[in-house]
């Protein structure tokens, strides 16, 4: 996937009721993971009841990208914010399976399911 390596992986945020849907795109590796993590933690600071992270535009993610999501999970647990992931490509899903984090995160098939 073509991408500007200097742009934030977080492409957009939108409110759906009291939830925030965060759309992510591009490859997420060591080069972009710190910016990714900071963008995600900034969302928590806006006090949504739930965060839905849409990874449908992410073609590649390594363990540094996964670590950013684990950090987000830790923050949301501490602050009582719900967190769901949606739109995982097969490749990204596989990284979660290898690291067994697919059993830790709430992973949904559709945005509707994630918002329900």
């Amino acid at each position: 996937m073509n991408q500007d390596s200097h742009s934030s992986p977080v492409q957009s945020e939108r409110w759906v009721g009291r939830a925030t849907v965060v759309e992510v795109a591009g490859d997420i590796d060591l080069h972009r993971s710190s910016q990714f993590q900071q963008s995600l933690l900034d969302v928590v600071d806006r006090n949504p009841e739930r965060i839905v992270v849409d990874l449908g535009g992410v073609g590649y993610m390594d363990s540094s990208g996964v670590a950013s999501l684990v950090k987000l999970l830790s923050r949301t647990r501490k602050t009582g914010v719900g967190l769901r992931l949606v739109g995982l490509t097969r490749r990204v899903q596989s990284v979660f399976e290898i690291t067994r984090l697919n059993t830790v995160f709430e992973i949904c098939q559709t945005e509707e399911e994630a918002l329900a």
Binding site: D27, D29, D62, A67, V70, S94, E97
Partner: protein, 151 residues
């Protein structure tokens, strides 16, 4: 004249995360030409990416002025049967016995790279490099089932 893949690609990579996409693209194409299916090629590429990330973070402490010597070698005659990836850094020597996967039940950020590499590759060997630094050698066989359908 038949074109064959029987010689290694040698790259001296700056220890900057900016180059990771370049290496992923290069290895991904080599894996495709050698004959790996898409899923297995993805696992090989992820493994190299994780290894390079560890070198940048730990061997060079994030400094981008280091060098990583990379060799990507098709293995086998007359047709490639495997790909061998060698990564050599010039950072402080590390005891290979101390490079281990961590407990996955401990859910926390970081430390997953070695687990991923060992899960996806057929052979993973860390050794002190001549003249300092560490040499990591990883092999993935064309007929391997390890890590299949993962990545």
């Amino acid at each position: 004249m038949k074109s064959v893949l029987n010689r290694p690609i040698v790259i001296h990579l700056p220890s900057s995360p900016s180059y990771l996409p370049v290496m992923r693209a290069t290895l991904g194409k080599l894996c495709e030409l050698v004959g790996f299916d898409r899923e297995t090629a993805g696992a090989v590429v992820l493994s190299m990416d994780e290894a390079l990330t560890n070198i940048i973070k730990h061997a060079y402490g994030g400094a981008e002025d280091g060098v990583i010597d990379i060799e990507l070698a098709p293995v086998g005659e007359p047709e490639p049967e495997a790909v061998k990836i060698s990564l050599r850094d010039y950072g402080p020597a590390v005891d290979p016995k101390k490079i281990k996967s961590r407990d996955l039940d401990d859910v926390r950020p970081g430390g997953l790279g070695v687990h991923i590499i060992k899960k996806c590759m057929d052979t993973v060997e860390y050794a002190p490099a001549d003249g300092g630094g560490t040499l990591l050698t990883m092999v993935k066989k064309l007929n391997s089932q390890k890590g299949k359908d993962k990545v």
